[in-house]
């Protein structure tokens, strides 16, 4: 039984040796010396040919057992050493995570674009199309189609930059509606559109006036569009832009292209309606104008106003942005001070 006890001894010694190893290199040497082709276990297995047929399988299986347990011990130790090594390396690689990151600049979208995009997406979601049109317009579309013939007093309300007697800088985006209405085929369904863009008025630039500003006008025309639909649509808009708790209020007004015409107030988003400086202590803030499309505007586009009608509204992204962010000078939008622009990071 000397072979078996040799193996026994080999195992004890080997395991003890493995336990104390502290480098992978030494561990590898031990592995080679114990389990290698010239190692003692191989020797034992070679010596088995001298054993009897009964002994051979017993010693053989014991030898395998010893080899397996040594292999396992080496493997465990190896893992242990590697983990230790890795930990040492990681520890040496420690950095100051509070140093600033390498700068990556991202540009901002202009706040007026943000307001405009927000409103465009709202209406796209409600099945409207967004229609662009010329900024240099014909008097015909800017005024006459909108129920403001040449001598109409309302033209005084909109001081106009004329280029010639018949060509001008559009004073509102309504001419886009006139152009679209004129072309629209109602057999293809109702007309639901908004027209955003730059508009121009003959004004002296100051804190509340700008010769260039923006408008978004909306128009819905079909066989049965009601003023209640207008109210509901504006409620959706007001809640979307100014907050879910907002209420709206319509007041009679006058525009040549709508009848009835209303001004729309939204309950003050600063004070909730109790009264504050923003709402001039009224609880309400005027945000847009709207109304039912004047029959003349419908007829001017070659459509029968007895069958078709609808609503229209117009709002100013400049005013919306001023209200929403407490901006008190409209010129800020067009002077483009980078510190002003960079405040508006999030498009929501």
């Amino acid at each position: 039984m000397s072979l078996k006890s040799d193996l026994e001894q080999l195992k004890e010694k080997g395991l003890a040796q493995i336990k104390t190893v502290d480098s992978t290199k030494v561990l590898n040497d031990i592995r080679v010396s114990l389990l290698g082709k010239k190692g003692p276990i191989t020797n034992v297995l070679r010596g088995m040919k001298d054993l009897s047929a009964e002994e051979r399988p017993q010693v053989g299986s014991f030898a395998n057992e010893v080899r397996d347990s040594l292999t396992a011990a080496i493997e465990t130790k190896k893992q242990e050493l590697q983990t230790q090594l890795l930990n040492e390396q990681l520890s040496a690689e420690t950095i100051d995570v509070t140093l600033p990151g390498r700068p990556v600049e991202i540009g901002t979208s202009h706040v007026l674009t943000q307001v405009q995009n927000d409103i465009e997406e709202l209406f796209i979601g409600m099945g409207y199309q967004v229609v662009d049109g010329p900024e240099v317009e014909e008097d015909h579309y800017n005024f006459e189609m909108m129920n403001m013939p040449k001598d109409h007093p309302a033209r005084d309300m909109q001081d106009t930059f004329y280029i010639t007697n018949e060509v001008l800088m559009r004073t509102h985006t309504s001419p886009v509606q006139a152009r679209t209405l004129e072309k629209h085929d109602f057999n293809q369904g109702p007309l639901k559109m908004i027209s955003p863009g730059r508009v121009y008025r003959r004004d002296t630039d100051d804190a509340t006036h700008s010769h260039q500003f923006h408008q978004i006008e909306g128009l819905v025309v079909d066989k049965h569009i009601t003023m209640a639909d207008l109210k509901g649509t504006l409620e959706v808009l007001a809640k979307h832009v100014f907050g879910a708790d907002r209420k709206i209020r319509l007041r009679p007004s006058y525009f040549p292209f709508t009848e009835p015409s209303v001004e729309v107030d939204v309950s003050c988003f600063k004070c909730g309606g109790k009264g504050c400086a923003v709402c001039k202590y009224t609880g309400w803030i005027e945000v847009l104008g709207a109304g039912m499309v004047h029959p003349n505007v419908i007829e001017n586009a070659g459509i029968d106003s007895k069958i078709y009608g609808g609503f229209a509204f117009g709002l100013g992204p400049d005013r919306f942005a001023m209200l929403k962010y407490g901006i008190d000078d409209i010129r800020e939008f067009y002077l483009n001070d980078i510190r002003f622009l960079h405040q508006f990071k999030v498009e929501d």
Binding site: G107, T113, Y162, I163, P190, K192, H224, D229, R249, R339
Partner: protein
């Protein structure tokens, strides 16, 4: 229009808090900008009677007055007003009182003499300067009618009132008169107003014997009426009349002028009075002015008349500008005896243009241009004549002189209840709607179940079609009561069109690359409008009548706006800038009127990309920084044409050695370059790089349709090659040759080094490329690649005299 609450109460039964009334009016009809209470904040201001006055011993202008104020003893008050006199009833602010602007009055000593309070001018108790009668403008106010000493002054001066400031839209000129306003307010409270038409007694003198009247151009003077009042005594108006005027914001002058103003305020009918004795020809001829005619208006201004003006003449010479202002020559003065009263209807557009032309916007012209009640013209004239008899002892001559007689007609509009509900989305009943119309003073007859025939009096000339009646119903029913619904109509797809998507994507890309969006003015100076142009169509579009030369021309480029923005920021010490604008350039061929509006995209960078920091040195913007952004932007679109940059030395605003035109295939799409130092200097900006693209062109270019391909199965192989070249040879030339000789498996050319200087022959540079070869079908062999490299090298050597290193 300033609306006196008390005046309204003369016509309707009204018991509403004025603030509440103001809110209601705002929500039903006309925006009320504010409510003013004239006596608000004032206290202890009473009527005093001046018993005696004596000069202050130590002053040359102060008087010591003994003033009865209803106490047991008179108060001694020192007064500096030049017009103070014994026997006057005056306004006294007692010690402890508050006068205008919250000023507190205390017992005091004036130059050693005790003074218990103050005798007040109207301004001191809150009257605006422009309504104080001229005789009291520079002194204390003196009551002219019996008042009770010691009583608060407010009721005597009409200050116990509320003044509502109506902000009237152009269509609601009916409320430019108190009668119209009473109808409007009455309708809200279901109160029918009552107006007393004063009685008129005429003398036996026939007006037509005194004056002839005729209207030449009847089309623009649809109504023209005169009355003549003789033996008029010019004097101040009674208090009630003065109060009505000053609460409406009009200064009392004398009884004749005041009456015309009062009638205008009451009826909304402008009135004019002129002196009969100053008419040389005893004739009134109303006609269009003649070119070259002149007139001096009541305010003393001279006017060159225009043939589009309407004038009142004495048959030959103009005596007034019709509907706008009377002439100085026929003015009512203290000595006037016989007064001609005029009530007329003039064409609104003509009056508006005349008022504009002569810069003479008056209460009268405003009313004529906005429209008056054609049914009450003669009522107003008769009321004025009656008041002249009553308040100026005048004798009204018999009959009205008619130059043109207007025939006022109701507007008759048929409308069905169903139509109203169809438009409003309501379920109103016939009685509800009928009541609204009747409250407004409209006649209603009903037939065929729900068909209403509505008669609208001329007072509401703004109503002529169905939609106008719908508005009346909507506002009187109340917009708050309207349901809120969404349109119940066929579904329509909502989506952005290709151009809108393209523009949105463009903005996102540039922002991701660090550029911030700006919005500049499209109107600019002549010089800036025509810089950085990209087409041959560079005719300028100029405003006919610009506000300033800074914004007089439409831009042909976006870059000049960006440079303005950079200058603005640099002047404020913001020197590291990366900005872009997306907007329109207005190009035009010579002779065209309307420009073509092209969508452009432009960017500008200056200063540092990033400053010095612990991790890396500062990075300064340069041509290639901006070009990299442009490369990325253009690569996003997969154009079928190749993108190429061609040096251009001829763009006047750009550095001749650092400027390239950008092409997609054969199509010019824009440029990139450094702003010419001279241009930069003119803008006061540092070294700046810019690009500008024509998005309208880019959008129209063909793009490849993507067909997905699997990732390559066979490995790619790369070879490096360095070539020594004369400086004049460009990278583009080298790459073109490599591409041409690289064979079908050349996948990519990557320039990884550019070197000149040490160890390189002067006037030469070394370019080093890494070439990647790949065959999707098989692994490329060494010899296949070698063969291609040999071709490339041979060709580079041959055509560019390159030396392979």
């Amino acid at each position: 229009m300033k609306i006196s609450y008390k005046w309204l109460q003369e016509y309707i039964n009204l018991n509403e808090n004025p603030d509440v009334l103001a809110d209601k009016v705002s929500l039903t009809g006309i925006e009320v900008a504010g409510v003013r209470y004239p006596d608000k904040g004032l206290k202890k201001i009473v009527v005093g009677h001046v018993n005696s006055i004596e000069p202050h011993p130590d002053s040359d202008h102060l008087n010591i007055c003994q003033v009865e104020v209803g106490e047991s003893e008179p108060y001694q008050i020192v007064c500096g007003a030049p017009n103070v006199a014994a026997g006057q009833d005056v306004i006294v602010a007692l010690p402890g009182s508050r006068i205008a602007n919250n000023v507190k009055i205390k017992k005091s000593k004036m130059r050693g003499v005790e003074s218990k309070g103050m005798i007040c001018a109207l301004q001191e108790i809150g009257f605006p300067d422009n309504v104080v009668p001229k005789e009291y403008a520079n002194g204390i106010y003196v009551f002219t009618e019996p008042v009770k000493v010691g009583e608060p002054v407010f009721k005597y001066l009409g200050m116990d009132d509320a003044i509502l400031d109506f902000d009237i839209t152009p269509n609601r000129a009916d409320t430019l008169g108190m009668h119209g306003t009473a109808w409007e307010v009455g309708a809200m409270y279901h109160e029918k107003p009552t107006f007393k038409q004063p009685e008129l007694t005429e003398t036996n003198t026939k007006a037509q014997d005194l004056l002839r009247v005729s209207v030449e151009n009847k089309a623009v003077v649809p109504g023209y009426y005169l009355r003549i009042v003789e033996n008029v005594q010019i004097k101040p108006s009674p208090m009630w009349l003065q109060i009505h005027l000053w609460n409406a914001g009009i200064r009392p002058i004398n009884n004749v002028v005041d009456i015309t103003n009062y009638i205008m305020l009451a009826y909304g009918q402008p009135m004019h009075a002129f002196d009969y004795d100053k008419l040389t020809r005893k004739e009134i001829l109303v006609r269009d002015a003649k070119a070259g005619e002149v007139i001096t208006s009541l305010d003393g201004e001279g006017h060159q008349l225009d043939p589009e003006d309407i004038v009142i003449t004495d048959g030959v010479i103009p005596t007034g500008i019709a509907g706008v202002m009377g002439g100085l020559d026929s003015e009512i003065t203290a000595s006037s005896k016989t007064v001609v009263l005029e009530a007329a209807v003039f064409n609104g557009t003509r009056i508006r243009k005349t008022a504009q032309r002569h810069n003479l916007r008056t209460d009268a012209s405003t009313r004529f241009e906005k429209g008056i009640d054609t049914a009450s013209v003669t009522d107003a004239l008769n009321a004025a004549a009656s008041l002249l008899a009553q308040l100026a002892d005048g004798a009204v001559a018999q009959g009205i002189l008619v130059g043109n007689d207007i025939q006022p007609k109701d507007a008759v509009i048929a409308i069905r209840l169903a139509r109203i509900n169809h438009i409003l989305g309501t379920e109103l009943t016939l009685p509800q709607v009928q009541a609204i119309f009747e409250n407004l003073g409209f006649g209603v007859t009903i037939s065929d179940t729900d068909l209403m025939t509505v008669s609208v009096p001329p007072r509401r000339w703004d109503i002529s079609i169905e939609a106008d009646l719908v508005e009346e119903v909507a506002r009187m029913y109340g917009y708050d009561n309207l349901p809120a619904t969404l349109p119940k109509i066929a579904m329509t797809p909502g989506k952005f069109n290709p151009q809108q998507r393209f523009i949105r994507r463009s903005k996102t890309l540039l922002q991701s690359a660090g550029l911030s969006e700006v919005i500049s003015y499209a109107l600019t100076t002549r010089a800036k409008a025509q810089q950085f142009t990209m087409t041959a169509d560079t005719a300028l579009t100029k405003l006919d009548w610009p506000m300033t030369e800074d914004h007089a021309y439409l831009r042909l480029n976006l870059v000049s706006g960006l440079l303005n923005d950079i200058a603005y920021n640099v002047a404020r010490n913001q020197t590291d800038l990366a900005i872009y604008e997306q907007g329109r350039a207005f190009t035009k061929k010579a002779g065209q009127i309307r420009p073509i509006e092209r969508e452009y995209l432009a960017g500008a960078v200056t200063g540092l990309v990033s400053g010095d920091n612990w991790a890396q040195g500062k990075q300064v913007v340069d041509f290639y920084y901006l070009k990299g952004i442009l490369d990325t932007y253009l690569a996003d679109h997969d154009y079928t044409g190749d993108i190429s940059y061609v040096a251009n030395t001829d763009r006047p605003e750009l550095h001749p050695g650092r400027c390239a035109d950008v092409y997609v295939g054969e199509q010019f799409v824009g440029f990139i370059g450094q702003v010419h130092p001279a241009t930069a200097k003119a803008y006061a900006i540092p070294e700046t790089y810019v690009f500008q693209l024509d998005l309208s062109t880019l959008l129209a270019l063909p793009t490849t349709t993507l067909v997905s391909q699997s990732a390559p199965k066979y490995p790619a192989t790369s070879r490096d090659i360095a070539v020594l070249l004369p400086d004049t040879v460009t990278n583009a030339q080298v790459e073109a040759i490599i591409k041409r000789r690289g064979g079908q498996h050349l996948q990519n050319i990557h320039l990884f080094d550019v070197y000149a200087g040490k160890n390189i022959e002067a006037g030469h540079k070394s370019l080093a490329y890494s070439l990647t070869f790949q065959n999707p079908e098989a692994t490329l062999t060494e010899s296949e690649i070698n063969e291609q490299m040999t071709h490339i090298i041979a060709y580079l050597t041959e055509t560019l005299h390159a030396e392979i290193r």
